[in-house]
Symmetry: C2
């Protein structure tokens, strides 16, 4: 449709994303209209549709971008799934969920589902990528790796999500102490 390399396109998409993030905090997802986004981004409403199908597609992209911004370099470059890497993923996921549920006012089921699915997917991709680089699963076939990554990602997400609802947001250390051993044992990576 539009050339993603064109500087005008990059700028417009950035304007839209920024406007959307601001609006999310100000009025919550449900209350946001396309008109709102266009006004806030100082672009035309029709232009919005040249870049996103609807506000769900925009949420999808923003959610993914926000996740990327939060992954520590160390995790991205990790060659092995160590305790430390595991801890960072747990903490990061927990904080990410806190932000989306509190700062960004998750106020609708469609939004909650989309964000949750996105986090899980990103987590799984990240973990899978680490597995593939290291010899953590030496010789294991590709499906084994993917399933392990899926389970690990889901487990971490589940723990972080539970911890949010438990209202213990100021004690992420407890979460880590419980979740990390579980994950590492499950992967057969427990330390002696």
């Amino acid at each position: 449709m539009v050339n993603q390399e064109d500087p005008r396109v990059l700028r417009t998409r950035q304007l839209i994303r920024t406007a959307f993030r601001d609006l999310l905090q100000r009025k919550g997802f449900d209350a946001i209209t396309i008109k709102d986004i266009a006004q806030e981004a100082t672009i035309n409403r029709a232009t919005f549709y040249a870049h996103f199908e609807d506000k769900y597609a925009l949420l999808d992209e923003v959610t993914e971008q926000a996740f990327h911004e939060r992954i520590p370099e160390q995790v991205v470059n990790a060659e092995e799934f160590t305790n430390d890497i595991c801890d960072q993923l747990i903490i990061m996921t927990h904080q990410y969920i806190i932000d989306f549920y509190q700062i960004c006012r998750i106020d609708s089921n469609p939004m909650a589902k989309l964000v949750d699915d996105k986090i899980k997917k990103m987590l799984q991709q990240t973990i899978e990528s680490i597995f593939m680089k290291g010899d953590t699963c030496h010789g294991a076939d590709i499906h084994h790796i993917k399933i392990m990554a899926a389970m690990t990602g889901s487990a971490i997400y589940g723990a972080a999500h539970y911890w949010l609802n438990a209202g213990e947001n100021n004690r992420p250390d407890v979460l880590v102490d419980v979740a990390r051993p579980y994950v590492m044992k499950g992967l057969g990576l427990e330390n002696p």
Copy 2:
């Protein structure tokens, strides 16, 4: 040439102004090229020329805008040229000059002249507008008012400029104490 109402135009000009202000602080006026501005503003170099003849025209506009941003509402709305209004103009002019000569690294004669002239012009306009509203110069003809405004603006500018070179930038109170009585007496507005 271009329609100044078009949202794209407003946005582009704002991008250019902001980029220019940042660059002024980073490398000084002389070192700035049009290419620099275009890159910083994420616009095409050719687009710059659709809006400004050259970087001097841009400086002119930015200088004027900066002045407007600094005039206190009270001064804009003043109906009479009081001691207080006079003080505010002196302080504001002094601070404006400090910023342009220090923060913005005035590094060339053309730039210095342009900025100086702009400040004087804006000062004179501001003062003239106050004179016109009040009965400060009751019944005086238009030329008298304009000349008085020109002299007052130049005097304030001259005082502020001298004070900059005197290196007493942290004692604007002294400047005010000397300049205000001079101006007010000149206008025949001295308090009993």
